[in-house]
């Protein structure tokens, strides 16, 4: 087990380095950099000043040199300056991280709270009206563009109630109720899609398991329906669900980008888009690396959880 863990961690580190190189190169290959952007708001470009600025920001060195400089910086714990705001990138990114994490967790909770029960009901009442209705509901969730859902929610809220969630971030200390209200609708919008996937996964997994011999034995033994479902079926059905949660988390992060934009939450995902558009290299790199770390750690955790849940799985 220890060897497995070590190997996985090693692989994870390698993956992260690989990702950092990919992002680094992609950004610098992109035409247009922060120097061009600085001039765009002024409406003209002065070549001499442009060169001076590029030199100041180290952008005129070869890419490999820039990468090494950046890597060295990171290993010293310095995440570099934000080209856009002129402050340390970490200072800009740090307050946004808890917002995204909170939204991601809440969306996941919503998806579990909605997905698991609907999946179970769908499976135990297979091919009934309820099943079809729930399947359509979950399929709709997978088919709808996430930002469209967000837009529709805001439109409905303002039309019917004349109210929308606060556009300014309210922390939990300041006002818990407003804070929760702030996250409610974005979590619903972002969680709907994951709920749909989890529901489908749960349904098919449960169907599988319900047909297994040991479950039929349990029925035959006359055990109560709920015991059968919860003790035997659900536990085994949980495995693929856990895997799906892992991969779904990656997709969730992508969905957070548009959700945060529509609901104006000051999170990492929304800021990523802006930083990309502004070619704020240090910030983009930091954000993508942060997302990468979250994804890699989640995958590792999921695999380990898989091992705990299924005694048949052995990692060597």
């Amino acid at each position: 087990m220890r060897a497995y863990l070590a190997r996985r961690l090693g692989l994870a580190a390698l993956t992260l380095v690989g990702m950092s190189v990919v992002v680094f190169v992609l950004l610098r290959v992109a035409p247009g950099n922060i120097v061009d952007l600085v001039f765009q708001s002024a409406g003209y470009v002065d070549l001499a000043q442009k060169q001076r600025l590029a030199h100041e920001l180290l952008l005129d060195r070869p890419i490999a040199v820039q990468y090494l400089l950046w890597a060295g910086q990171i290993l010293h714990g310095d995440l570099g300056p934000s080209y856009r705001y002129g402050r340390p990138a970490w200072e800009i990114v740090r307050p946004r991280i808890p917002v995204t994490i909170e939204l991601a967790i809440l969306a996941l909770l919503v998806s579990l709270a909605v997905g698991l029960p609907t999946g179970i009901v769908s499976a135990t009442r297979q091919n009934t009206g309820a099943d079809y209705a729930l399947r359509v509901f979950s399929l709709a969730g997978l088919s709808m563009p996430a930002f469209w859902l967000g837009m529709v929610i805001i439109l409905v809220l303002v039309r019917v109630f004349g109210w929308i969630p606060s556009m300014l971030y309210v922390s939990a200390h300041t006002d818990l109720r407003a804070h929760l209200l702030l996250f409610l609708f974005p979590a619903l919008a972002a969680g709907y899609r994951s709920a749909a996937l989890i529901s489908r996964m749960t349904r098919s997994s449960m169907l599988e398991v319900l047909r297994e011999d040991y479950v039929r034995t349990a029925w035959a033994k006359g055990l109560h329906a709920r015991t059968v479902v919860s003790r035997h079926a659900l536990q085994n059905a949980l495995l693929p669900i856990v895997t799906v949660i892992g991969t779904e988390f990656t997709f969730l992060i992508g969905g957070l980008v548009v959700t945060e934009t529509v609901f104006n939450l000051p999170g990492v995902a929304k800021y990523l888009v802006e930083a990309i558009l502004w070619r704020d290299y240090p910030v983009v790199q930091n954000l993508v690396m942060f997302i990468a770390i979250v994804v890699v750690v989640t995958n590792l955790a999921v695999d380990l959880l898989y091992a705990r849940l299924d005694p048949r799985v052995r990692y060597g």
Partner: protein
């Protein structure tokens, strides 16, 4: 083939419905000029924001362009992007999966980290960075969406390849002196087709949704191609209350096509191998 189709329609009515919708969309896309009622790029200052009616079936937008025709032509782009991306992802991913699954230790050592890196990026994030890197154009969007799909396909194909490699068929073939290429082509490839098809259909929906999200953020397929995603983007939000049809119909179009592709994928999966879990 037709017997199979009939069986499919009989046992999986939902899947068949999905297939029919996809087919209709394909026809509309291919015969866009014949099916539309107006020129989708023609602006008409005198007839902006017309509600759905007899002259404009789905109304007009803020520039006076016919929404129905734009949706029909938009089908072209959305399907082109969707099919190309899932196709590319399927082909390249399939090849890589076969290689990694069959190639042994060395192939694994090189390919796995690469696949891991590509998969670690959330779909939208990688697409964003790539579009920013390559500039907004149709080709860029296709590349930017295909690349993240590749590792997801490769993984599945790799898993299948690994398991098939261990079967008795392959052992027997090896014993009879068949070389690697023959084994791959004869035994492995046919058996991976089914999950590949299901996966490709599922990815079609994802590709269309990601394209819509990219357009919403301003990085998708540029004008003059009428993209459904762009019809929903920032400016649309402003007109949504005054002329809801501007926002409703493109959103419905996207949802319907993705819905249909998901139905088709489900149906195919149930039909080809009900025990498949993807």
């Amino acid at each position: 083939m037709s017997a199979d189709l009939r069986r499919f329609a009989q046992h999986n009515p939902l899947g068949a419905i999905g297939g029919v919708i996809m087919l209709l969309t394909l026809v509309a896309a291919v015969a866009a000029n014949a099916v539309s009622t107006h020129d989708p790029t023609r602006t008409d200052a005198a007839h902006t924001f017309l509600p759905p009616g007899s002259s404009h079936w789905l109304g007009t937008d803020h520039l006076g362009r016919d929404i129905y025709s734009r949706i029909v032509h938009g089908a072209r782009i959305s399907l082109a992007v969707g099919i190309t991306c899932s196709g590319l992802g399927g082909v390249v991913g399939g090849l890589l999966g076969l290689l990694t699954g069959y190639g042994g230790r060395r192939a694994e050592l090189i390919m796995l980290p690469v696949l891991d890196v590509m998969q670690a990026f959330p779909l939208l994030v990688l697409a964003l960075v790539m579009t920013a890197a390559l500039g907004p154009s149709l080709v860029t969007v296709i590349v930017a969406i295909s690349v993240p799909l590749i590792p997801r396909v490769a993984r599945v194909v790799r898993a299948m390849t690994l398991s098939i490699r261990e079967t008795s068929y392959v052992e027997a073939a090896l014993a009879m002196g068949a070389n690697s290429a023959r084994i791959v082509l004869r035994h492995i490839l046919p058996n991976t087709m089914a999950p590949l098809i299901v996966l490709a259909t599922a990815q079609l929906g994802s590709a269309i949704l990601v394209e819509a999200a990219l357009s919403f953020l301003g990085l998708g397929v540029p004008e003059p191609y009428p993209s459904w995603g762009r019809m929903l983007s920032v400016s649309a939000a402003e007109f949504a209350v005054r002329a809801p049809w501007v926002v409703i119909f493109p959103g419905l179009a996207i949802s319907l096509v993705v819905f249909a592709s998901n139905l088709l994928g489900d149906g195919l999966r149930d039909f080809l191998d009900p025990r498949l879990r993807i």
